[in-house]
């Protein structure tokens, strides 16, 4: 599985698993993404591209990661209605 950010690859796989099982709980939601970004920052994990402890990942802003989770959710929504 290739992905521009490893976390994104996992988001896509979770969404694909949700599609196959019909179980929305498997989706990595934007709310969960926001929570995990906060927790990782609070626990000292680093944004490696910028060399800082912050909620941005691979130098890409936190809001983009949350938006990506929203897009993944939107892609599955029609199939999981």
């Amino acid at each position: 599985m290739t992905a521009a950010v490893s976390n994104w690859g996992c988001t896509a796989i979770c969404a694909a698993m949700a599609l196959r099982t019909g179980d929305k709980r498997l989706i990595h939601t934007p709310e969960m993404e926001a929570r995990l970004l906060e927790v990782m920052t609070a626990n000292g994990l680093i944004n490696s591209a910028d060399g800082l402890i912050d909620p941005h990942v691979d130098g890409i802003k936190d809001t983009t990661h949350i938006a990506l989770a929203e897009m993944a959710l939107a892609i599955t929504r029609k199939a999981l209605l």
């Binding site: 599985m1 290739t2 992905a3 521009a4 950010v5 490893s6 976390n7 994104w8 690859g9 996992c10 988001t11 896509a12 796989i13 979770c14 969404a15 694909a16 698993m17 949700a18 599609l19 196959r20 099982t21 179980d23 709980r25 498997l26 990595h28 969960m32 993404e33 929570r35 995990l36 970004l37 927790v39 990782m40 920052t41 609070a42 626990n43 000292g44 994990l45 680093i46 944004n47 490696s48 591209a49 060399g51 909620p55 990942v57 691979d58 130098g59 890409i60 983009t64 990506l68 897009m71 993944a72 892609i75 599955t76 199939a79």
Partner: protein, 245 residues
């Protein structure tokens, strides 16, 4: 064609948007062409093939400033691994064992808990998997020396007999045994040798954002630019046989 193919393709395209300009899109195109289907769908199918209550070894963790301290871990990897572990438990009630540097166990445990997964010992994880009462996972440390890493690979696989192994954001060594980051800097110090376990377990493996060390093994000097051989190597890691238990 799978009923999910069009959704899988949209998800693949979304997560391979190369916003960081790291050259991932040619790797994706080569992998997609070889697999003949969306990669996220192939990975999802593989993960859902494991038996209910089966065992998944998941690994992540990049000590990306290893030359400063092995306690400095990257935030790409842990949240994705946690999301996958949560999904594996919800879908298959899998016993998930997350293998990582000992130095990164505290932030990883916090990330799992924030994702809804309790961190417990192996006995509790197995029990929770069997009775379905709680999403649990077990964290285990992996040695950081080559000699211990080889022994641990053999012992870990014999002990856990995983139905699937998942690696996200982990590096592998180049042909000279060095772990290079994408800028060609050796950052193998204090790094768990978990990559040694993967060649020993070819049954069912999902790897995310392929390890720079493995790519560099085929393309010297260390580079950050997609290379035809690298793309081929990336593609070859995608379709793997699934172990039938």
């Amino acid at each position: 064609m799978s009923d999910f193919a069009k959704y899988d393709d949209r998800l693949d395209r979304l997560v391979n948007l190369d916003l960081g300009n790291r050259g991932i899109e040619p790797l994706y195109e080569a992998s997609r062409a070889l697999a003949g289907r969306a990669l996220c769908g192939a990975a999802a199918d593989m993960l859902l093939t494991i038996p209910k209550g089966g065992t998944a070894i998941v690994t992540t963790g990049s000590v990306s400033r290893a030359w400063l301290s092995p306690e400095l871990g990257e935030n790409d990897g842990p949240s994705g691994a946690a999301a996958l572990i949560r999904a594996l438990w919800l879908a298959r009630r899998a016993s998930c064992i997350l293998v990582i540097e000992e130095t990164l166990m505290p932030p990883m445990a916090a990330t799992l808990q924030a994702c809804g997964v309790a961190v417990t010992d192996l006995e509790a994880t197995r029990k929770a998997s069997a009775d379905g009462t709680m999403a649990c996972a077990t964290l285990i440390p992996y040695p950081v020396t080559d000699a211990e890493g080889q022994t641990a690979a053999r012992d870990m696989l014999a002990q856990f007999e995983p139905d699937v192994m998942v690696s996200t954001e982990r590096v592998g060594r180049n042909e000279n045994g060095f772990y290079y980051n994408m800028r060609g800097r050796d950052y193998g110090m204090g790094r768990a040798r978990i990559d040694m376990a993967f060649p020993r377990w070819p049954w069912a493996t999902v790897a995310m954002k392929l390890a720079w060390g493995w790519l560099q093994r085929l393309s010297k000097p260390p580079c950050h630019t997609p290379h035809p051989v690298i793309a081929r190597a990336a593609a070859e890691l995608v379709p793997c046989p699934v172990r039938i238990s």
